[in-house]
């Protein structure tokens, strides 16, 4: 089954999430070139959905291991720049645990962490086909 079919099946009973997922998938799949990062606001526009709860649910679903359309990317600040957190710190963040700043070696406050999305493996496979 293709991605559109999987989304329609999984969210048949929640049309708002289903439509948000389908809009994001359609917008991303139709692009020839992808940005390095997509912000929450970019994806809100793709989803045509202003309810943050619905949008979060949709983005979380599109990032799951089944579809891998998106990959969650966390950024931290260092010396005037924003850099991606390494995967092991992302795992700690996902489990609700303390995140350690890779440069300072000290805990980072959650409000200091920026969340964005990168094109996931599922999207890259689609582009390769």
């Amino acid at each position: 089954m293709n991605v559109t079919g999987i989304i329609q099946d999984d969210w048949a009973h929640e049309p708002s999430v289903r439509d948000a997922c389908l809009h994001v998938w359609k917008a991303l799949a139709s692009r020839e070139d992808h940005l390095d990062h997509y912000t929450f606001d970019d994806l809100r526009q793709f989803a045509e959905q202003d309810d943050p709860g619905v949008l979060s649910q949709a983005l979380l679903y599109l990032s799951n291991p089944k579809l891998k359309v998106l990959k969650t990317c966390l950024m931290y600040e260092f010396n005037g720049g924003f850099l991606e957190l390494p995967d092991d710190e992302v795992d700690h963040y996902s489990r609700g645990e303390e995140v350690i700043h890779p440069e300072f070696g000290a805990p980072i406050d959650e409000s200091e962490i920026l969340v964005c999305f990168t094109p996931g493996a599922g999207l890259q496979q689609k582009a390769a086909r």
Binding site: N79, G81, L83, E84, I100, P102, E103, G105
Partner: protein, 389 residues
């Protein structure tokens, strides 16, 4: 600087307490990303971040041989770090002074300085590696002049190591919900409350008189990503102390004129594809009808080279001229060494007003020993015009 001044005694046996003390000193000064592979190579357990790693070192059991070899490795790294790690570097060109003054400074540095300064060193408060790390112990040095801890001559360079403490501040959001009822009431109109935390850090500032190249270098400690107390600039305080010493022994301040402008090195570095990766760039792009300075913001990247990055190069094709005023260069290295980084930070104003093009400080990051430091310094100095010797 091929040899490390004041090497620790290779015969001595070290204890856990000595290793923990060195780790505590490193924790105040060295980036975790730099320290982590160094600690790991000693065989001591490395956890996530300083806090857990220190907690393990205070409790884990190792043989005496491991503690001793760890102490040797960490104390060598810590001592090097005081001379070359995370430095704001300025150069004074002695060739810009008159011949007599230059000759007196060089003669003193090469011949008498170490002996002249010996009485001062007898009164030094501690050795470099025994520097205090706790706020309560550092407080007494907060307002005092930098203290001379070491004076040594190596390869015709005089190294003077000064100690002082500086305050760095960080901003942290405070959780209003954990406050008392009165405080919650006080902040009820605010969505967020930010607290400013001040941390005192032991700092080592090095003055090097390079008698071969007629230079005086100031290597001033800084903490990347932290805001320093601007009211007492370390550079001025160390320069005052150095000039006070030379005035006492040769009757005049050694430096004052001849502070080198590093700006002329920026464009040659940007154009030289063999000079590392350009990972930070501030520039003004000018085309026939318009120009852009990206609101004076510096572009930064961790892994790309702006000389090759499609975003930058693609844009570059559509303008007549790219005039960089700030450049950051990264030279990648393999572990346990980390990447070396140099930043020459100018002002966008310099591009618009030709008179203000002076960049007098270079940022050196990631140096672990004298060879690393000399490599970066050479990259800058070889691109600057100077009078012949």
């Amino acid at each position: 600087m091929s040899a490390l001044p004041s090497k620790p005694d290779a015969e001595s046996v070290a204890t856990r307490e000595q290793v923990v003390a060195i780790l505590e000193l490193l924790e105040t000064r060295m980036l975790w990303s730099t320290a982590r592979p160094i600690i790991s190579a000693t065989g001591i357990h490395v956890s996530r971040g300083w806090r857990e790693t220190l907690a393990h070192a205070r409790e884990d059991s190792y043989s005496g041989a491991i503690w001793t070899s760890a102490f040797m490795a960490l104390s060598t790294a810590a001592r090097w770090h005081t001379y070359v790690g995370n430095k704001h570097v300025s150069f004074f060109d002695l060739r810009e002074q008159n011949e007599d003054v230059k000759a007196q400074v060089l003669e003193w540095a090469l011949g008498r300085a170490v002996d002249d300064l010996r009485p001062v060193l007898r009164r030094r408060p501690f050795d470099i590696l025994d520097a205090p790390t706790r706020k309560v112990d550092l407080e007494q040095y907060k307002t005092s002049a930098p203290r001379l801890l070491a004076a040594e001559l190596h390869d015709e360079k005089l190294y003077l190591q000064f100690f002082s403490t500086r305050a760095y501040s960080t901003r942290e959001p405070l959780d209003i919900t954990k406050m008392g009822a009165a405080q919650i009431k006080l902040f009820e109109d605010y969505e967020e409350v930010i607290g400013v935390k001040t941390r005192l850090v032991p700092c080592f500032d090095t003055v090097v008189v390079d008698t071969t190249n007629d230079l005086v270098e100031f290597r001033i400690d800084f903490q990347p990503g932290m805001t320093e107390d601007k009211n007492s600039p370390a550079f001025a305080r160390v320069m005052t102390e150095f000039n006070r010493a030379t005035t006492k022994f040769i009757g005049q301040g050694a430096v004052g004129v001849g502070l080198m402008n590093l700006h002329p090195a920026i464009n040659p570095m940007y154009l030289d594809a063999a000079c590392g990766r350009v990972t930070a760039l501030g520039f003004v792009a000018t085309s026939k009808d318009s120009s852009s300075n990206n609101h004076g913001q510096i572009h930064r990247t961790k892994t790309q080279d702006f000389r090759k990055d499609s975003f930058h190069v693609g844009g570059k094709q559509h303008v007549d001229k790219v005039d960089p005023y700030t450049i950051g260069i990264t030279w990648p290295a393999k572990p346990p060494k980390g990447d070396l980084y140099l930043e020459l930070k100018g002002s966008v104003r310099a591009i618009y007003s030709g008179k203000l093009r002076a960049v007098t400080t270079a940022e050196f990051l990631g140096c672990l020993d004298g060879a690393d430091y000399d490599f970066i310094a050479d990259q800058v100095l070889r691109r600057l015009p100077r009078k012949k010797k």
